[in-house]
Each structure stands twice: as structure tokens, then as C-alpha cells.
């Protein structure tokens, strides 16, 4: 316990330095901004900002990028409540009751309660990370290559099970991602693989290019195609007054916030989990157990508080597998790994012991960031509403410009821009063919890691693949992966899975 406080003291020392406070602020503001704006999410934004982080210190870079992710969870609810459009995919369920509350003139309490719920969840999940990450990292330090390989298999399988749409396609996307990750020089033999004689490809396909192309550009193109069909979005801008919920509201929401926080924290840790899954699950749970279930969908404040608490909790606890195991659980975490590697930090359990400043500083910054969000956001809601009236035709050229300058600056050559454009096209094809890009990016980041660990494991076992089953931890992880696959293809689960994701 004493150790914990000492560590947290180091963390707050780092997080409260003037420079890091500044980047934390930039991160949460940007996060809120893109959370408010529909059609641009944290994945695309972090991808865009990766090149900028070259110039920052590792800790400042990670603090800023983390701020974008949980900041977006705050911003997303504003749009959901006022416009009935999810600003962020994890706010989809917030629309259901939040917008109804706004129509009844209770937009203020809905916004206030979602911010308060998010803050409570943020505080709790920060504590969860501080408590659970160190022991988990201890365990992970004992992992050998066989365990790591199995862990990656489990992580990737879990990500495909939780992806919406066809399971076969999701697994195919993971494998395609792994293969694309292998392009470039093979560490063991020094052979430049699949570079087709292009020298720029010897270092591998640029991670920023893939992420920005598949998530950023493809998103813009799909949005432009959509906006041609649908009319201008209608904005529910009434004067939002009285943000503070009443005492009765607080009483009504206590249970919902606690349940949302706990469920969100638990689901965030799972591979493939994160904000999106957490908010869906919390809404479903709340609808089942709440005394107010008759009112759900008609403006029940619990239907706002629970998912908003859960998505924030989930967003933060999904950092646990990243910080302790070096395994990303969702695309945002894959980008965080990318950012760490750009900074020359090998992600994994050793980060905690070798760079305690970075590890604890990031955790402390999450709580600081949450505090900033609550203090800043509520008074600024008027400004965010104004932003929503900016039409997309003005936004997207600006977004494109930042993307292009960012990609160009990676190596000051048009090659990266070209490569990103190419992945933009590929990403658009994925969207049209209903192939989820999230598993692809996870595979892409894990490809080289997995190959290396597989090679080492096989070398240690003298070529016997039985090593993955003979080693108990590895066997358990593989068993869980198989179990996950089996229950997904089982007809009963398949049905509910289809229902659960149909709302998107």
C-alpha cells in the first residue's frame, strides 16, 4: 500500500508539471472536440496526431493521446443528447434516453449527469489501473515466448469475436493485418520481405499510413457518400440551462453510476473490450435491473448515467493490457503502442519497472484529465453546440490538410502520402465489403511481435508445437480462445450477437 502511494506520488509529480498539464489539456480539449463532432473519432484523430508526437517527450505524447480517447467519451455524449446523433460510436445508446430528456427540456441535467457519472467512473477506473496493473505486470514478467504467443492469439480472437459482422471475415482481416505487418526487413535473417523492390518498404509499411488511411480517409469518403443521400442534420439547439441535476436525479442515478462503472471497468480490461462494448453492456444491464425500466427509451436519466459512466471506465481500464502486457485490446490501444514504439519504448511489462515515471505519470494524468474535463466542459457546452452547426463540407478539407501535413512530415517525402492515399482506397473497399478494419490494425501491430515469439517458442521446444499446450498458462489462454470461438458460432449466442450489434 505504501508502495502504491509512493508510486502515485511520482505519477502526480510528473502529471502536474506545467508541460504535462498543458499537453493533458490539449489532449482532453481535442478529445472533446472530436467527440462532439460526428464523423471523426478518436482513432482517426490519434492517427493524425502520431507524427506530431515525434517532437514531444514520450510522457507528454502519451498523456496527450490518452486524453483524446477518454476526452472523446465526454464529448460524444453532448452530441448524442442534443442532436440524437452519436458523436462517438460509444455514445450510440446514450441517444436513446438522452435525446428524449432533451426533448422534455431536461437536456441540462442529462449533460450534467453524464459528466458527473463519467468523472466518478474515471476516478474509480484510475484507481483500478493503479491497483491491478502492477501485480499483472509482475505475472507478465514471468511469461515466456510460448505464453506471449498464446496471449496474442487470445487477444486477436477476442477482438474478432467482439467485432460486429461476420466472424470469418473478422478473422480473415486479422490474418491480413498480420501479413501486412510482416512486410519489411525480417529481424532474424535480414531479408527484406514483400517490398517489391521499393526501398521505402524495407522498414515495413508505415503504421501511421495504414491507420490514417483506413480509419481517417476512408471515414471521410464514406461520410461524403452518405451526406449526399441524407439531408443536412437537424440540430436540437435549445437554450441549455441548469446543468446541475436535482437531488432526486442524484438519488435515481447512484445505483446506475455504480453498476455502469463496475461493469465498464471489468469489460475494458478484456481483450477486444473498451468504451464501445462497455456502454452497450451497461445500458442493457441497467434496462434489466433498474426499478425504472418502464421509462427506458422515454427519457430515463439512468439510461444516460449508466452507459456514460461505463464508456469512460472502459476507455480507461483498456489501458491495463497495454501497460502491463504490451498487447492492444482495441484500435486506439494499437495506436498507443505505435506511439510508444515511435518514441523508442518497447511496450510490455518492463515499462512499469524501467520507466516508472512514464507508467505512473500516465495513470495520474488520467485523473487530472478527468478533473479538467468536468470543470471545463460544463461551462463550455455552449461553445460545443455552436461547433455542431459547422457543416461537414467545411470540416473535411481542414481534416485532410492536417492528415496530409502530418503524414508528409514523417519522412518528408511524398511516398508516405501516396501510401496513405492507397490505404484510404483499401479502407473504403473494406467499408463497402463490410469488413471491419479494427481487427486488421490489431493484427498489423502484432504481426512482427507474434512471429518473433513464435520463433523463439519453437526454438526452445525444439520444434514441437506441443509446447503451447504443455505449458499451463499458455494452454489456458488457448483454451479460452477456442471457447470464445465455439460460443460465437453456437446458434444461441449468434442470435443475440446479431441483435446486440444491429443498432449500429
Amino acid at each position: 500500500m505504501e508502495q502504491l502511494f509512493a508510486n502515485l506520488a511520482i505519477g502526480f509529480g510528473v502529471a502536474l508539471s506545467l508541460q504535462n498539464l498543458f499537453y493533458c489539456f490539449i489532449g482532453v480539449m481535442l478529445g472533446t472536440l472530436i467527440g462532439v463532432l460526428p464523423g471523426i473519432g478518436p482513432v482517426a484523430t490519434i492517427a493524425m496526431l502520431l507524427p506530431v508526437t515525434f517532437t514531444l517527450s514520450p510522457i507528454s505524447a502519451l498523456i496527450m493521446l490518452a486524453g483524446i480517447y477518454y476526452g472523446a467519451q465526454y464529448g460524444g455524449s453532448t452530441t448524442a443528447i442534443l442532436v440524437n446523433i452519436p458523436g462517438e460510436s460509444s455514445s450510440v445508446v446514450t441517444c436513446l434516453d438522452g435525446y428524449q430528456m432533451a426533448r422534455q427540456g431536461r437536456a441540462g441535467p442529462a449533460l450534467g449527469m453524464s459528466a458527473i457519472g463519467s468523472f466518478i467512473a474515471g476516478t474509480f477506473s484510475t484507481a483500478v489501473i493503479a491497483l491491478f496493473a502492477p501485480p499483472l505486470a509482475e505475472v507478465a514478467l514471468k511469461f515466456g515466448p510460448a505464453e506471449y504467443t498464446s496471449l496474442m492469439v487470445l487477444g486477436l480472437i477476442a477482438a474478432t469475436v467482439l467485432a460486429h459482422g461476420s466472424l470469418v471475415k473478422a478473422i480473415a482481416m486479422v490474418i491480413l493485418g498480420l501479413l501486412l505487418g510482416l512486410v519489411g526487413t525480417d529481424v532474424n535473417s535480414g531479408v527484406a520481405r514483400f517490398n517489391f523492390g521499393i526501398s521505402e518498404l524495407s522498414d515495413g509499411i508505415g503504421f501511421v499510413s495504414v491507420a490514417m488511411g483506413v480509419f481517417g480517409f476512408a471515414e471521410i469518403i464514406s461520410n461524403l457518400e452518405e451526406s449526399g443521400k441524407a439531408g443536412e442534420r437537424e440540430i436540437f439547439v435549445k437554450k441549455v440551462s441548469n446543468l446541475l441535476p436535482s437531488l432526486q436525479d442524484f438519488k435515481d442515478c447512484t445505483g446506475a453510476i455504480i453498476r455502469g462503472t463496475l461493469l465498464g471497468s471489468a469489460l475494458g480490461i478484456l481483450p477486444g473490450g473498451g468504451a464501445l462494448l462497455a456502454s452497450f453492456a451497461a445500458y442493457t444491464l441497467e434496462k434489466k435491473v433498474s426499478w425504472n425500466k418502464a421509462n427506458f427509451g422515454k427519457g430515463a436519466i439512468q439510461g444516460v448515467a449508466a452507459p456514460e459512466s461505463a464508456n469512460n471506465a472502459g476507455a480507461q481500464t483498456s489501458f491495463i493490457p497495454l501497460l502491463t502486457l504490451g498487447i492492444p485490446s482495441n484500435p486506439v490501444m494499437a495506436l498507443m503502442i505505435g506511439a510508444m514504439m515511435i518514441q523508442g519504448i518497447a511496450p510490455g511489462p518492463q515499462v512499469m519497472t524501467e520507466r516508472p515515471q512514464l507508467f505512473w505519470g500516465m495513470i495520474a494524468s488520467m485523473w487530472v484529465g478527468n478533473l479538467m474535463l468536468v470543470i471545463l466542459n460544463l461551462p463550455l457546452i455552449g461553445m460545443w453546440i455552436k461547433l455542431l452547426t459547422v457543416p461537414y463540407r467545411i470540416l473535411y478539407p481542414a481534416i485532410l490538410l492536417f492528415c496530409c501535413v502530418g503524414v508528409y512530415s514523417i519522412s518528408n517525402s511524398p511516398f508516405d502520402v501516396m501510401q496513405t492515399a492507397l490505404f484510404g482506397i483499401v479502407g473504403y473497399v473494406f467499408v463497402r465489403l463490410e469488413c471491419e478494419p479494427a481487427p486488421l490494425i490489431l493484427g498489423f501491430i502484432l504481426g512482427p511481435l507474434m512471429e518473433e515469439n513464435l520463433r523463439r517458442a519453437m526454438l526452445l521446444s525444439r520444434g514441437s508445437p506441443m509446447t503451447f499446450i504443455e505449458r499451463p498458462i499458455s494452454a489456458v489462454m488457448l483454451a479460452i480462445a477456442v471457447f470464445l470461438l465455439l460460443i460465437t458460432v453456437a446458434p444461441a449466442v449468434r442470435k443475440t450477437r446479431e441483435v446486440a450489434f444491429v443498432e449500429e
Binding site: 510482416l182 531479408v191 520481405r193 463540407r393 496513405t420 520463433r455
Partner: protein, 202 residues
């Protein structure tokens, strides 16, 4: 046999293509053994898996309960033929350009026409926003060094705005001025990126 799910049909073909492609490309590297895996071992295994999964998706397209038209992407004959002809001309004349005696200009012209051929072919299959936006991005990438940030920004903004559904010249021009000023201030003065503001005449 009738194709019921066009999206699965194309997705299956795509995965099959990648799977088989990676397996073939891996053959030029040493395979190694299970104990000491060569550079080709893991990609070959993955390529094989992807091929199998691609085949599953492909055949599912014929029995799927979900119905999607086979025409997932638009298709324009005229552009495909035009792009094909241009590409053929450029391929045949590949050696001729350098001998034109115009130095760098002729090579740039050759590159430009090559790119045009690729884009025209692409435009045959892609929707308008995709083609226009990707052209604007690539133009930006190639114009940035020789022409500087301001002009490259202008081209990116104007071309990409033209890819949307509404194009208001006044609005686009205002956007250009604001964004050019902003990007010069942030990227060149703020982040000190090594980019020219104006064309490099030296």
C-alpha cells in the same frame, strides 16, 4: 449457381487474392524448419489460412441468407477504356521520354501522365468523393516540396472541396486563406517542420 451476397463475393475474392499472393511472394525466401523458421515460414502459414478463409467467404456468397447486389462498386466502361489506352501508350513509350531532351520536365510529365492513367482506371470503379479526394491528397504530397505549403494547401482545399456535394467558390477561397495562414503559423513557425512556404526557386 447464383451470387446472393455480392459483398461476400468480392470480399472472398479479395482475401483469396491476398492469401495466394502472399504465399507466392513468400516462395522466393528460405522456408527454414519448424525449429528455425526462415523468413518465409510464418507468412506462408498465414497466407494459407487466409486463402482457406477467403474460400469460405467466397462460397458463402452463393448460399448466404443476406442479399446484396453484385454491383457493390460503380463501374464506368468509358473511363476504364480511356485509362487502359493511356496506360498502354505510357507503357510503350516508357523509354522515349528521357530522350526528349527537356531534362527534369519531361520526366515529371511522364510521371504525371502515368499517375493520370492509374487514376482514370481507378475512377472507373470508385465513387466520385473517393477519386477526387485521393487525387487531391496525392497532388498535395507531390506539390509540397517544389511549390511550398501555401500553393499545395490551395490545391488540396480546392480539389477536395470539389469532391463533396456542394461547392461554393467564395466559401472555399475563404477556407483556403484561413487554413493556409493557420498551417503556416502552426507547422512552420510553431512545430518548425522543414517545409517551404513558397515555391523553391533556387
Amino acid at each position: 449457381m447464383k451470387i446472393k451476397n455480392g459483398k461476400d463475393f468480392w470480399a472472398g475474392l479479395m482475401f483469396l487474392g491476398f492469401g495466394i499472393g502472399f504465399m507466392i511472394a513468400s516462395r522466393q525466401y528460405p522456408m527454414g524448419t519448424a525449429v528455425r523458421m526462415g523468413p518465409s515460414y510464418f507468412p506462408t502459414v498465414l497466407g494459407g489460412l487466409l486463402t482457406v478463409l477467403g474460400a469460405v467467404v467466397f462460397f458463402r456468397a452463393f448460399v448466404s441468407k443476406v442479399h446484396h447486389s453484385i454491383e457493390v462498386f460503380p463501374f464506368r466502361w468509358t473511363l476504364l477504356v480511356a485509362g487502359g489506352i493511356l496506360a498502354a501508350i505510357m507503357y510503350a513509350s516508357a523509354g522515349w521520354w528521357a530522350g526528349l531532351g527537356m531534362g527534369r520536365t519531361s520526366i515529371l510529365l511522364q510521371y504525371g501522365l502515368n499517375a493520370l492513367a492509374i487514376f482514370v482506371i481507378m475512377a472507373a470503379f470508385g465513387p466520385r468523393p473517393l477519386v477526387v479526394i485521393m487525387i487531391s491528397v496525392v497532388l498535395f504530397g507531390y506539390l509540397l516540396k517544389p511549390f511550398g505549403l501555401v500553393i499545395a494547401t490551395g490545391v488540396l482545399i480546392i480539389v477536395s472541396a470539389w469532391g463533396g456535394h456542394e461547392f461554393k467558390l467564395r466559401e472555399v477561397l475563404i477556407m483556403f486563406v484561413v487554413l493556409a495562414a493557420f498551417s503556416v503559423a502552426t507547422f512552420i513557425y510553431g512545430l518548425a517542420l522543414p517545409i517551404n512556404i513558397w515555391p523553391d526557386l533556387g
